[in-house]
Amino acid sequence: MRYIEQEKVVRRMNGRMVVNRVFQGLFMFATALALLALVILLYRIVSQGAGHLSLDFLTNFASRFPDQAGIKAALVGSIWLMAVVAPTSILLGVGSAIYLEEYAKKGRITTFIQMNISNLAGVPSVVFGLLGLTIFVRALALGNSILAAGFTMSLLILPVIIVAAQEAIRSVPGELRDGSYGMGATKWQTIVRIILPAAIPGILTGSILALSRAIGETAPLIVVGIPVIIQFLPEGVMDTFTALPMQIYDWSSRPQAEFQTVAAAGIIVLMVVLLFMNSIAVFIRNKFDKSY
């Protein structure tokens, strides 16, 4: 008995090669489509908004008149928001990561916290807004202040920072740790002087990426009641404020076509801020990319 019928194999070979080619083309086409979507998106926004960009746009407050509308209050507000979110979320995130990686005993509680973190990452941002509205705005009576919005955003990005920091800490090789203990250092000394310095590039990269998510989030801000039209700059964390995505949302949802141009210009500003933050992250990743 013959195991392979050579004629049959030869006969079917061409067809199989054609199928392979066709599907290769299809898969490539699908990938190209996804990339094309990004190109169209960026092109549309730049071509729509570039005309409205000027120094006045950056230094004017919001206005009823499209040609005078500026983004000053939103830009400054977003910076204030980050000034609250960055320290809060990084402190909580890195602290949690150190606990989980260095102190927690592998057991039920650790598994539970870990599972909780990954579930928290899947909760829609609008639900975090409801949490912020109830706890920070009403129960703690922070009102629609920078602090209330900042705490809400910090909790939203906390899971991302914890996971990034955990990975960074885990990638610090065991020999460094053993070396430090061998020299008589205590656990905390080892963490502060050996592990954290080695893990900092990874922690920073992850944190910046998480912060760039927070700076583009709109839904939680709407739910906690952040206003849009603001004609002054905040002077402290208890003041109310507006932020870039809120301002863009307001302009986009206005019926007048002129405001779409203003919205596109606002999006360009937001995307430039994001690009800036991401390039810092990439720079840190490349600069400090030590492989042990």
Partner: protein, 308 residues
Amino acid sequence: MRTSVQELIAKSKDKKSKKIIEKLIPILLFLIASVSVLTTIGIVLTLIIETVTFFTRVPLSDFILGTTWLPFANSGAQFGIWPLIVGTLKITGIAIIVAVPIGISAAIYLSEYASDNVRRIVKPVLEVLAGVPTIVYGFFALTFVTPVLQSFFPEIKIFNAISPGIVVGIMIIPMIASLSEDAMSSVPKSIRDGALAMGSTKFEVAWKITVPAALSGIIASVVLGLSRAIGETMIVSLAAGSTPKFDGDFTGSIQTMTAYIVQVSKGDAGYGTTIYYSIYAVGFTLFLFTMAMNILAGYMSKRFREEY
């Protein structure tokens, strides 16, 4: 005067403060780590407590069985959740139709066909696509996709389910593509090499070896994408309108659960009104939907994982 190393060590060992720090730090860090657990408890408690208040005013059966959502009516307001669920499902359905074929195809292309150079370019670009804020996608849906669709199908209105559905699909492509690609890349090379050595074409390897072996990861990525689409807020708030409808119409204005929460938060629904509490009931429903999806995804990737 110089002190010997031994003396230094002895001195530092005597320090009380150091011992206290070593004891206190783990407790402090444990408290920090519990913030994430407290957040979950906070979310669940807030949603439950405010939802219960809502149900003291609107009967539970009206909420889960009703097919009319008319919260702003002056008299006889109705709170039947189904129109909002149907709106959410319309968006999610279109998004999945767009994202699953493209996302999985891209994943197969990247893991099976693409050279290292292509992969090095395409993957970061997909990451950029994933990092675009949803408000930007919403603006894109409203000012570009809708007009383009209207020029082909004049019956489509300015607010509709199709355009935001497509754009939500574009938004979740990177997620499905990268998670599926991770699953396919973790299929051992030896299995692929075996099939190739037997004379399989690359397509046969992808279709009969890699995809079945990575199926749990691929399905998990789709379920996570679903969960993302259900919870997506800004795209639908901007481009899908605010008309809760219990029908099969895709061309006109609809409303999703998330868009309702935004609509109420934007207007000044006074604290303590039934409308105010209704956003928690809707939020709780939304939370249950996404939670079910996330648990399912976790289960899928654990239960059907093939070990090599």
